[in-house]
């Protein structure tokens, strides 16, 4: 069974169709990258998959549980409680981290497990410390977000998402707000997760990284999936737009 299925998803913002008949299937343990020019709809896919935006039509399914489906040509969503449970299957890492500035690092990570999932505090702390250590932030638990570099903040936000033990983790341009040096440390963490077979969908502009880490790459443009395949397929594509796009980014 696919962990995530988006079937024939369409989304319109103020009359502008940003997603057109998008279908994506992701199996457990797969790492999929989504690439493409700005405004192509990459981030919108993640925002629809994580239900930050509602879809206009199509189907959204996690592990066979339907979050949204078509009824009379329009998407309808499951009941509140069902959505809440489906919600626990996934996490999202934002481009701008969106850490809670008034919580220190440890509290940023444990607060949701404790107050949402009702994990005992002691257990949450132990698990959070393990995560921090793993992400190279073992000595930072008392720091506040503003005291950390962008790369460290992004790693904390990855830890925060992982603390809820999602089955699939979405990354929305996780390194776009970082300089090259900090980008490397965040990408390293994501690569580690890939090695552990964490299921991930990553929207990124880092071509080399996408090539290394993904089993599959989706190239998007103008709200369509233009091409989809293994990194080899994409990087040796005959499609002129794909070639142009990859060429431009690689020659930077």
């Amino acid at each position: 069974m696919n962990l995530l299925e988006m079937n024939h998803v369409s989304k319109t913002f103020d009359g502008l169709e940003v997603l057109k008949d998008i279908s994506i299937q992701v199996k457990e343990g797969e790492v999929v990258s989504i690439i493409g020019p700005s405004g192509s709809g990459k981030s919108t896919i993640l925002r629809c998959a994580t239900m930050l935006e509602t879809i206009d039509s199509g189907e959204l399914t996690y592990l066979g549980r339907k979050a949204a489906w078509n009824e009379g040509g329009k998407a309808v969503y499951a009941a509140h409680n069902e959505l809440k449970e489906i919600h626990r299957y996934y996490g999202l890492v934002f481009q701008n981290f969106n850490l809670f500035p008034h919580f220190n690092v440890l509290k940023n990570i444990i607060d949701a497990p404790v107050s949402v999932l009702k994990v005992p505090k002691e257990q949450a702390i132990t698990e959070a410390r393990e995560l921090l250590k793993k992400l190279g932030l073992g000595d930072k638990e008392d720091y506040y977000p503003h005291q950390l570099s962008g790369g460290q903040q992004q790693r904390v936000s990855i830890a925060r998402a992982l603390a809820l033990k999602p089955k699939i983790l979405f990354f929305d341009e996780p390194t776009s707000a970082l300089d090259p040096e900090l980008t490397t440390e965040v990408l390293k963490v994501i690569k580690e997760l890939a090695k552990e077979h964490m299921t991930m969908i990553i929207v990124t502009h880092e071509m080399q990284f996408a090539k290394e880490v993904s089993e599959r790459i989706i190239f998007m443009e103008n709200g369509y999936i233009q091409e989809e395949g293994t990194p080899e397929d994409i990087f040796n594509s005959e499609n002129t737009r794909v070639k142009e796009f990859i060429g431009k980014l690689e020659s930077r």
């Binding site: 969106n98 008034h102 809820l164």
Partner: protein, 216 residues
């Protein structure tokens, strides 16, 4: 007449002024938050009602509002005005007025919180109530402290308006004594009282601000 005995005579008035100040804050701060919610409601009619409320409270003098609250029950419903109602009317008038100002301060604070904070909270599964009280409100408090300090300082000085419905707060007494003794000293004493009171308010608020300085 020396300044000490004048301060002594002003004492009961000072207590009344301080009472008006604290009671107004205690009720207007929470009420302001509720009004802010109403003002930001997604239901247009609710939003409109609270918008109108804030507009009237800000657009008319507090002195006039106090008169309406005090005499309103008599003129509208022919209810005989009891003596104890004076102070109650002052508090009601002040609270209704200040809550409107606080509501706009809250609204500005709430609207200044980046959308990403709500989205992160939603992603982590927080309920709407948890999101507001754990994530949003603490950050709002930090942001609104400077304008709240402003409003609070204005409140200290506004307490003198209670005279309009014959509640003898400090300034009423100062005027009486000044008239009786044909002296400016009571006014000097009154000035010092307001200034020191506000100095304390500013100090306390600064403490709060410092306390919240641990994050940005």
């Amino acid at each position: 007449m020396d300044i000490l005995s004048i301060i002594q005579q002003l004492g009961s008035g000072m207590i009344t002024s301080i009472e008006i100040f604290f009671l107004t804050l205690v009720f207007a701060l929470p009420l302001g938050l509720l009004i802010a919610f109403g003002r930001m409601s997604k239901i247009k009619i609710v939003q409109w009602i609270f918008k109108a409320y804030i507009s009237i409270m800000r657009g008319t003098p507090l002195m006039l509002q106090l008169l309406v609250v005090y005499f309103g029950p008599y003129y509208l419903f022919e209810i005989k005005i009891a003596k104890w109602y004076r102070m109650v009317a002052v508090i009601i008038g002040f609270v209704l007025n200040y809550a409107a100002y606080f509501a706009e301060i809250y609204r500005a604070g709430i609207e200044a919180i980046p959308k990403g904070q709500y989205e992160a909270a939603k992603m982590l599964g927080y309920t709407k109530t948890q999101t507001f009280f754990k994530i949003i409100f603490p950050q709002v408090v930090k942001r609104i402290l400077p304008p709240v300090t402003n409003e609070t300082i204005t409140l200290v000085k506004d307490t003198s308006l209670a005279f309009v419905i014959a509640v003898t707060e400090m300034f009423t007494l100062a005027k009486q004594i000044a008239a009786n003794e044909a002296s400016m000293v009571p006014f000097v004493a009154a000035g010092i009282f307001y200034y020191v009171f506000n100095l304390l308010v500013a100090l306390v608020m600064e403490k709060f601000e410092k306390k919240l300085d641990y994050y940005r």
